[in-house]
């Protein structure tokens, strides 16, 4: 008997003839995700992925499950006891040991589910379930039987080998990253944008990030915070690039030429224009933002209309209909919240109007924007001066 890990995937099932592309990408990502924890053989087996440890320190078991469950595409993962000895007595013994280990002394209802893939096996599925269930029930005091909504489900699969396991740890779901092209996420350092990036990556999209740095009006620590946030989401997304745009000169030019009240919208428009230029250069097909309707002045319907008109590329706003507390909950779930709320605030209050337009008219904004006579060349210059930071998926932590 030994232990292996069983990872189940969801939506890939619906992909007809392309299924293998998705499966192979998922296996690649899993392999990349658990690198450093030991040596593994990873293979497909009848709609599941089997991760067979060739060497795995038992201290890393928890981390392994954590990393597998956080791989987009995975809907569940479990540690499985595997035996070649299909004798029902052997199965019963392992099943009992596993149940004891999992349920401790807790009072729980349980049932046994058996699946017989090897049709030559002498017992049928219901017979296996009955045999094993009866044995466990007789040998444990804390369990009661409930076949409809049990709290503990013991699963037995008889294949060319026998798998014995129980409740799956739920995975993050989604699609394997890298099966759906690339997008560029605008990260501000706040709570929303990393969540938005995560949500799009969950749909299989490779995500890079872009951040606008206004030294000396924003501190080096604000930049460091965005780097830290990128590292956090790279745990899910994989290796990514962070583009740091030198933005001070553009802000100064903007401030010099345009009406105060219009600055916020024009700044957003210029950020979009730069993001679009970078996205095109890097082969990305959409921009991602953390905007949610009505949250702040630049996120009213009219503001979004006026900023969206600045570019041709699709802008994904996965949080558009979310309330703040829903976003916060997600940020906590993906472990970006604590970093996002660190108080390295920007000093660009200088560049923010006290009373920005909340209902900007696009034509008026454009009248202001065209006053920036050096806009085009400055955007080009900013794009050329971008600093690229490679964010590597975090090593063991």
């Amino acid at each position: 008997m030994d232990s292996i890990y069983l990872a189940k995937y969801g939506e890939i099932w619906v992909k007809g003839r392309n299924k293998y592309i998705f499966e192979n990408k998922l296996i690649d990502n899993l392999r990349e995700n658990i690198k450093g924890l030991g040596e593994f053989k990873i293979r497909k087996n009848l709609g599941q992925i089997i991760i067979e440890p060739l060497s795995l320190d038992e201290n890393y078991e928890k981390i392994l499950i954590e990393r597998v469950k956080n791989t987009f595409g995975i809907i569940g993962v479990a540690k499985v006891y595997r035996t070649k000895d299909k004798n029902i007595e052997n199965i019963k013994n392992i099943a009992l040991m596993h149940t004891k280990e999992k349920t401790k002394d807790k009072k729980l209802s349980f049932k046994v589910e058996a699946k017989r893939a090897d049709k030559s096996y002498s017992l049928t599925s219901p017979e296996i379930a009955r045999e094993v269930g009866g044995y466990i029930y007789d040998n444990m005091d804390n369990l009661s039987v409930d076949v409809h909504s049990p709290e503990f489900v013991l699963r037995i699969e008889v294949r060319d080998e026998v798998y014995i396991y129980s409740n799956l740890v739920a995975g993050v779901g989604g699609m394997p990253v890298g099966t759906n092209g690339r997008a560029l996420a605008m990260l501000s350092g706040g709570i929303d944008s990393p969540v938005a990036a995560w949500m799009i990556a969950k749909r299989g999209v490779e995500v890079d990030a872009i951040y606008f740095h206004s030294s000396p009006y924003t501190s080096e620590r604000a930049k460091q915070k965005v780097i830290d946030l990128s590292k956090r989401i790279s745990k899910y997304i994989g290796n990514m690039k962070l583009y740091v745009v030198p933005f001070t000169d553009l802000q100064l030019h903007m401030r010099e030429k345009c009406k105060q009240e219009a600055l916020t919208i024009i700044m957003r428009r210029i950020m979009f224009k730069i993001s679009e230029a970078v996205a095109k250069r890097e082969g990305a097909y959409a921009i991602i933002t953390g905007e949610s309707v009505g949250q702040v002045a630049s996120q009213t319907m009219k503001s979004i209309y006026a900023t969206d008109a600045a570019l041709d590329m699709p802008v994904f706003r996965p949080l558009i209909g979310f309330d703040k507390d829903e976003i916060v909950r997600l940020a906590k779930k993906i472990d970006t919240y604590d970093t996002s709320i660190l108080p390295y605030e920007d000093c660009c209050t200088i560049f923010v109007a006290k009373h920005p337009y909340t209902k900007p008219r696009l034509d008026r904004i454009i009248i202001e924007e065209v006053k920036m006579d050096k806009l085009e060349e400055m955007i080009q210059e900013a794009v050329e001066m971008i600093e690229v930071i490679e964010i590597k998926r975090s090593e063991l932590q």
Binding site: P216, Y217, T218, E220, L252, P343, E345, C347, T349, I350
Partner: protein
């Protein structure tokens, strides 16, 4: 590539460990590394080193060896003094006094005691940062057990007349304990705990060229105080935990160095500060020294406020060229982050945002003054253009 010229003007935040102190640290880590509590000779050696260090401090403060307790730093020394004395004497009284310009390690400890039911008086200061003596006298009550006042303010460099304040307290009631946070004063001034009526005095290593992680509390013999950290009973039970032998020896050595040429060092630093201020006034408009007159505040701290400047922007811009300073407050939209000291001396939020602090050390040379001031002047002009929207 040339190494960027660096000018460190943030010595009130922390200092560089001196070469001599570093030698002693290495010695304590590799030769005299015994546990001072061990019975064998290796332990005894370490204990002797610690006692030597304590003696150096003792000689400076003119107190006795058993009155020095080593802590993890200034914050712990302040916590121990205030918590330890207030709790130990709460049967005598529950009224304690401090000022509105204390370091947060004092201020937040008082707030914590206030939440526990202690009655706290927070004394005002005037525009220069001096404690209102009359108010102190009037604030003292029958049930007052502790007064805590900082020697030198870390943000504006105002130095209180501790002897006079001590006198006021003891004249009213000799039983009141007087705690002084001397973290910015120790190593810069001669402190005489007897003459100045000080019962407890906090000091910190990393402000005087020892490493971070070491501090000490002087506790006059007979002061009723209880520990805030419990354990193996080291340091006569007041501060359990294996002594940080390396840190203690470093603190001793740094103390020795600081007091060796104290007078001439401080005169030189004051000369540096004076020339710097003169040059700043020559080259920059609309700039004011916060707190006391610059020649009355301590030689190592200078607080300046510029009209139409965000201090934080100036800080980052200077940082980019290798000049390191600090600001009055992080610039943010939240008013709650404003410096309490700067509020207490009557500055408006805009004045606080426009404030920077320069603090000096032995590595600052007069030759650098033009370089420093030219850069500040240049950046102030640039940032002002932005802020004024010119």
């Amino acid at each position: 590539m040339d190494r960027k010229k660096e000018i460190y003007l943030d010595n009130a935040a922390t200092t560089k460990v001196s070469d001599r102190v570093m030698e002693r640290i290495i010695d304590m880590c590799t030769v005299n590394y015994g546990n001072p509590s061990s019975m064998h000779n290796k332990g005894l050696e370490a204990e002797n080193q610690i006692r030597n260090a304590a003696n150096i401090i003792t000689n400076v403060l003119l107190c006795s060896e058993e009155e020095i307790y080593f802590t993890s730093g200034g914050t712990e020394a302040n916590n121990l003094a205030i918590m330890g004395v207030s709790e130990a004497n709460k049967n005598v009284g529950r009224h304690i006094i401090t000022t509105k310009i204390e370091h947060s390690s004092v201020q937040k400890t008082f707030k914590a005691l206030e939440a526990e039911g202690f009655d706290v008086t927070y004394l005002d200061v005037d525009k220069k940062g001096y404690v209102d003596e009359k108010q102190l006298e009037d604030a003292i009550r029958e049930d007052t057990t502790l007064v805590s006042i900082m020697y030198v303010n870390n943000e504006i460099g105002t130095k209180q007349n501790i002897e006079k304040l001590g006198n006021i307290i003891k004249n009213k009631n000799t039983k009141i304990y007087f705690h002084v946070d001397a973290i910015q004063a120790f190593g810069k001034f001669v402190i005489n705990v007897d003459k100045e009526h000080i019962d407890l005095l906090s000091i910190s290593g990393h402000k005087i060229h020892a490493p971070k992680g070491i501090g000490a509390l002087y506790v006059r013999k007979g002061v009723k105080i209880i520990p805030i950290i419990h354990g193996g009973g080291q340091q006569k039970g007041l501060r359990s935990g294996t002594e940080n032998a390396m840190g203690i020896v470093a603190l001793g050595e740094a103390t020795k160095e600081a007091y060796k040429n104290l007078k001439s060092n401080m005169e030189n630093m004051m000369e540096f500060k004076t020339k710097l201020v003169e040059e700043i006034f020559n080259k920059i408009d609309d700039v004011v020294v916060n707190g006391a007159e610059f020649n009355k505040s301590v030689p190592h701290i200078l607080s300046l406020r510029f009209k139409d400047i965000k201090g934080q922007a100036l800080l980052h811009a200077l940082s980019d060229i290798g000049i390191y300073i600090s600001t009055g407050s992080a610039c943010s939209t939240k008013k709650t982050d404003l410096s309490k000291t700067l509020i207490a001396i009557g500055l408006s939020p805009d004045e606080i945002y426009g404030t920077i602090r320069l603090s000096f050390g032995p590595d600052n040379y007069e030759d650098d003054i033009s370089y420093i001031v030219d850069n500040i002047a240049n950046l102030v002009e640039k940032i002002r253009k932005v802020v004024r929207g010119e």
